[in-house]
Symmetry: C2
Subunit: 359 residues, 2 copies
């Protein structure tokens, strides 16, 4: 057995007996159940149906989806292997459009295949693909811990920090991005209390963030998404920290729907607005936020929750899953490289220079 995260932590993804097991985020916190994926198609379906969600976790799951498919085809002919993997890449790339980590992880997996010699046997490539998936997951945890260390310096003892959606261990391979910063600040001895927006329609805040933080003993207060402006106006929020699904080259941030409204209110009330995102979430190929594809999900999520529908049957619905916060509203972007104040095109380009990632 090989797990992707220390066993004391939330196991968002784990590798067991040749299968990818995902904690089922649709039924938390009522039930802690795992969904096992044995193929790329099953993994793509788990991503689409939000068994697993959160940009970094989606990236890790997609990498394992390729590894699963490669293992399944390891005794096929090279031609069958290549065709099967091609279909797997397509299925996973089509699962969700906004989080760029998905495409980033698939590209890393493609690079492994490209780097293999033409004579390599499918079984050898499959082994290398599984190693790469494990490396991606381990690197994600490491990036989150680094982000936590950098970002914790931004949070002072006693702060009341608003977060939105779930950018925690459940959104990553472990520790979390935004919640990772909070965890690291708490580990450093700071008393931080968290205000969690419930995050309709999927209720990641109410179900996942509240559950994660309660388990860790970090004080958390749940609010409806419409309440953060009121709390800001009454001086009850000291900082905002959120994750991201894709950061454009100019620093615009696509994140869970509702993030933009919080950012606008934070600016009005002079409250710092921080985004915690690893480099794998930054998409230097997208010039600005307007160009980021925004997923629209089905009507049922907005008409109710978990099978209970409270809206009139058949009422029209809009369900954009993400919005774009312009870079000018972001006080600082926290990555594994450090804290970037006032993110902009130049500062973000500089992040990628040392490794010459785009060449």
């Amino acid at each position: 057995m090989k797990t992707c995260a220390p066993s004391s932590m939330v196991e968002t993804l784990r590798w067991r007996e040749g299968r990818l097991e995902l904690i089922d985020q649709r039924v938390l916190p009522a039930r802690v159940e795992f969904v096992a994926c044995a193929t790329a198609d099953e993994t793509a379906r788990a991503i689409r149906d939000m068994v697993v969600r959160g940009a970094p976790a989606i990236g890790c799951a997609a990498a394992y989806g390729i590894a699963l498919e490669a293992a399944r085809l390891k005794n096929a002919t090279p031609g069958e292997f290549s065709a099967g993997l091609g279909r797997a890449f397509d299925a996973l790339a089509g699962s969700r459009p906004t989080a760029v980590n998905l495409f980033w992880a698939l590209e890393r997996m493609r690079d492994v295949i490209k780097a293999s010699s033409a004579a390599a046997r499918p079984a050898d490539i499959a082994a290398r693909l599984l190693d790469e998936a494990h490396r991606i997951a381990a690197a994600d945890v490491a990036a989150n811990r680094a982000m936590g260390g950098h970002g914790a310096a931004l949070l002072a003892d006693g702060m009341r920090v608003l977060t939105h959606c779930n950018a925690g261990a459940l959104a990553t391979a472990g520790h979390g991005t935004a919640l990772g910063v909070i965890r690291s600040a708490v580990a450093a001895g700071k008393r931080i209390s968290v205000i969690a927006g419930e995050t309709r329609p999927f209720l990641q805040g109410a179900r996942l963030t509240a559950w994660e933080l309660t388990r860790d003993g970090i004080p958390v207060t749940l609010i409806a998404d419409s309440m953060s402006g009121h709390l800001m106006s009454r001086g009850e929020i000291d900082a905002v920290i959120v994750g991201a699904d894709r950061v454009a080259a100019n620093g615009d941030v696509a994140n869970k729907i509702g993030t933009y409204m919080i950012a606008v209110l934070a600016r009005r009330h002079r409250i710092p607005f921080y985004v915690a995102a690893p480099l794998s979430t930054i998409d230097p190929r997208i010039a600005c936020g307007d160009a980021i594809p925004i997923e629209e999900r089905g009507a049922a999520e907005v008409r109710g929750h978990a099978g209970l529908e409270w809206a009139p049957a058949g009422v029209a619905v809009r369900n954009p899953a993400f919005d774009v916060t312009p870079a000018e509203l972001v006080t600082a972007l926290i990555t594994e490289m450090g804290v970037m104040r006032e993110p902009d095109r130049g500062r973000i380009a500089a992040l990628f220079k040392p490794v010459n990632r785009d060449s």
Copy 2:
């Protein structure tokens, strides 16, 4: 049988066989049921439990609550009658704190008692109190129709109008305040489509506004409360119109939690933000919004809905039911007297001068 609204309309309140019947707004739209109140205590409980909600409707219900109690005590001695009514006023005044229409209606009922001669029999006073309750309800519908006429001029053909909570027939004795303006614009031949925020936690938008508008054949699209900023940023909202629970003397508006966030976003995107409220919602005794009492409701509403709890058991919750939008963010206040652009202390004071209401 005497009803408070034409039978073709939603019957938010109706007077039947000496009892007040309230459409149960906790179970709409799944079920259309009425709760009958025979006493002031039952009416106060219906207000507190949100069987009836919406500032004008609460005011009407409170007036009927006094009429019910007076009818119940009409054969009592004058001393018992007076003491019983005193308890009824206290019970109703303690039911909900923010909507000022409640206190306004109770004051009108008190004025009827004060205007009765010392020798008046309880039965005569009870009859006059019921007449006054009917007058308050009829005047509310008339005010809404007047507001509708004035406000409709602000909405152009083809506009996509965002509203929050339910400021419709269900929030009033009929026609509605914000939705009354939309109804009047549609009646005048304008094609208006409505975007309704679901309004967590009580879901007045998803359950009540969507139901009312669907019944009327007015196109309505339901969104989560966190989505309005995104739609504004994409140019998909042309105007905002909401009701109010209390307007302070300077024009600050207490309304359903989330209104303030919408107003801030509307200003950022240069979208007009209209408030429709009858004079009975304006409280000239409260200098500014900061002094308006904001009700905090119980945790269960935020932890889930209608008995389904999705948050971790026992998680801490904040549940302010209202917020305050500063007057500077209000493009116009629509009352039965007309459209007041840029409401401020002077313009609001002028509204009350002709009738010398404060003397």
